[in-house]
Amino acid sequence: MMISTILNRNRIEKIASVVFALIVWQASAMLIGESLLLVTPIAVVKRLFSLFTEADFFTSIGYSFLRIVAGFLIGLVAGSLMAAIAGKFHLAEIMFWPFIATIKSVPVASFIILCLIWLSMGTLSSFISFLMVLPIIYSNVLQGIKSTDKKLLEMAEVFRVGLFRRIVFIYMPQLKPYLISACSVAMGLAWKSGIAAEVIGVSNGSIGEKLYEAKIYYTTADLFAWTVVIVVLSIGFEKLFLYVIKKFYARLERL
C-alpha cells in the first residue's frame, strides 16, 4: 500500500516536471518569437501529425530501425562471444584490449568519416551502431563472467556438469544484471550513433537524411519532430527488448 502510494507520487511528480518543462519551452519559444531559432512544442506536435501522413515516413523509420537494430544485435552477439572467449583465455582478453580501448576512446564522428570511405551507405549505420555497442556489451559481460560465483563453478567441476548446463544454470543467471544494464546503455548509444552516421553519410531514405534536410532547409519543426520519433523508437525498442530478456530469464528459471 505504502509502496504503491510512493510510486504514484513519483509518477505524478514526473508528469508535473514534464508539463513544467513544456510550459518553459512554449514560453521561451513565444518570447523569442522566431520559429527558426526555437519552435513551439505545439508546432512540433502538429508537424509530427503531418509527418504520419507523408508517404516516406514509415519507410524512413523502417530503413533506420532495421539497420540500427541489426547493428545492435550483431554487437550484442559478438560482444558476448568475445567476452566468453576472454573470460576463458586470459591471453584473448589481452589481445582484445587494444581494439576495445580504441573503439571506446575514438570519437564516433571519426569512425563515421573513416567508414564512409570503407563501407556503402546501406551498411554504415549498422556498422557504427555495432561498433558502439560492442565494447559496452563486451566489458559488462566479461565483468559478469569474472564475478561468477567460484563456489558454484567448483560444484559444477565436482559433479562434472557439462558446458551447456553450466551456461544455462550458472553463467546466465549471474550475467542477468550485467546483460540488462549493458543492453540498456548500448541500445541508446546504438540509436544516437546510428542516426549520427546517417546524418553525416546522408543515407538515402533514412531518418538521418530527414534530419540532414531539416538542417539544409532550416525547418526546425521537422528537426524536433524527427527527434521525437527517434526518441520514441529508441525508448520503445529498449522497453521491448528488455521485456523479451526478462521473459527469457523467467522461462529459463522454470527449466
Partner: protein, 205 residues
C-alpha cells in the same frame, strides 16, 4: 577399490593444515571424519574432490564420478529444487523420479519455488538429494545435516541410509550420533601443534 591416502601434507602459507596424514577409506562403505574445528577435515575432502592441490603425499583410488554436499549448499539460487537436482543428473533420470526423492525428504510443497526462497534446512535437503541422485561412485558430505531440527534430521538420515546404495560415502561431522545412526568407520583427526594425527577409534556396522 579403497581410497588410500599416504603421507598427505597441505599448508596455506605458514599455516600447516595437514602433515603426514595417512588413511584408508573403504570402498562402498560410509566413513566419518571427525575432529575439532580447524584440524583440516574440509581441506582433506577438498583435496580428495580435486578442488585443492596437495603439497605432498599420494592418493589413490578416488573414483572419477563424484558428488558432494558442500559446507555451504552451493545451489543455483534462482532455480527451483527440481532444476537444481536435474542439473547434475543424467538425461535418463526422469523429473518424476527427482520429485519422488524430494517428497521423500519432506519438500512436497516447496520443490517448485526458487531455492532462494527456501529455509536453510530445506536448502540443505535439496543439496543432499542432489548429491545422492547424481550418478556418482563417491559422495563427499561436509556436515550434511547441519541446521536441521532433530525430527527432520532423523528423517533425512534415514533417507541417506536408504538411498546411498553401493556408493563410497565420506562424511565430515562433529556429531557422533550421525555415525551411530548411519554406521561405518570413523577417522578421528586431532590437532597437536602443527601435526594432525588420525586413528580409527571405532567401527560401527
Amino acid at each position: 577399490m579403497d581410497i588410500v591416502i599416504s603421507d598427505l601434507s597441505k599448508s596455506y602459507g605458514e599455516k600447516i593444515v595437514l602433515e603426514g596424514f595417512s588413511a584408508i577409506i573403504p570402498e562402498k562403505k560410509m566413513t566419518f571424519i571427525m575432529g575439532p574445528s580447524g584440524c583440516g577435515k574440509t581441506t582433506l575432502i577438498n583435496i580428495l574432490m580435486g578442488l585443492v592441490d596437495k603439497d605432498n603425499g599420494t592418493i589413490t583410488g578416488v573414483p572419477a564420478r563424484k558428488s558432494a554436499v558442500f559446507q555451504e549448499d552451493r545451489l543455483c539460487e534462482s532455480f527451483n529444487a527440481v532444476s537444481n537436482v536435474r542439473l547434475v543428473c543424467d538425461n535418463k533420470v526422469k523429473n518424476q523420479e527427482i520429485i519422488l526423492n524430494l517428497e521423500k525428504i519432506g519438500l512436497n510443497d516447496h520443490m517448485l519455488k526458487p531455492v532462494i526462497e527456501l529455509s536453510g534446512g530445506m536448502r540443505r535437503r535439496v543439496a543432499l538429494v542432489r548429491a545422492i541422485m547424481a550418478g556418482s561412485d563417491i559422495i563427499f558430505m561436509d556436515e550434511p545435516f547441519k541446521g536441521l531440527d532433530e525430527k527432520t534430521k532423523e528423517k533425512t538420515m534415514q533417507y541417506v541410509a536408504d538411498n546411498i546404495g553401493n556408493k563410497t560415502v565420506l562424511i565430515v561431522t562433529h556429531d557422533i550420533d550421525e555415525a551411530n545412526f548411519l554406521g561405518g568407520k570413523i577417522i578421528e583427526m586431532e590437532h597437536s601443534g602443527s601435526v594432525t594425527y588420525y586413528n580409527y577409534n571405532s567401527s560401527i556396522d
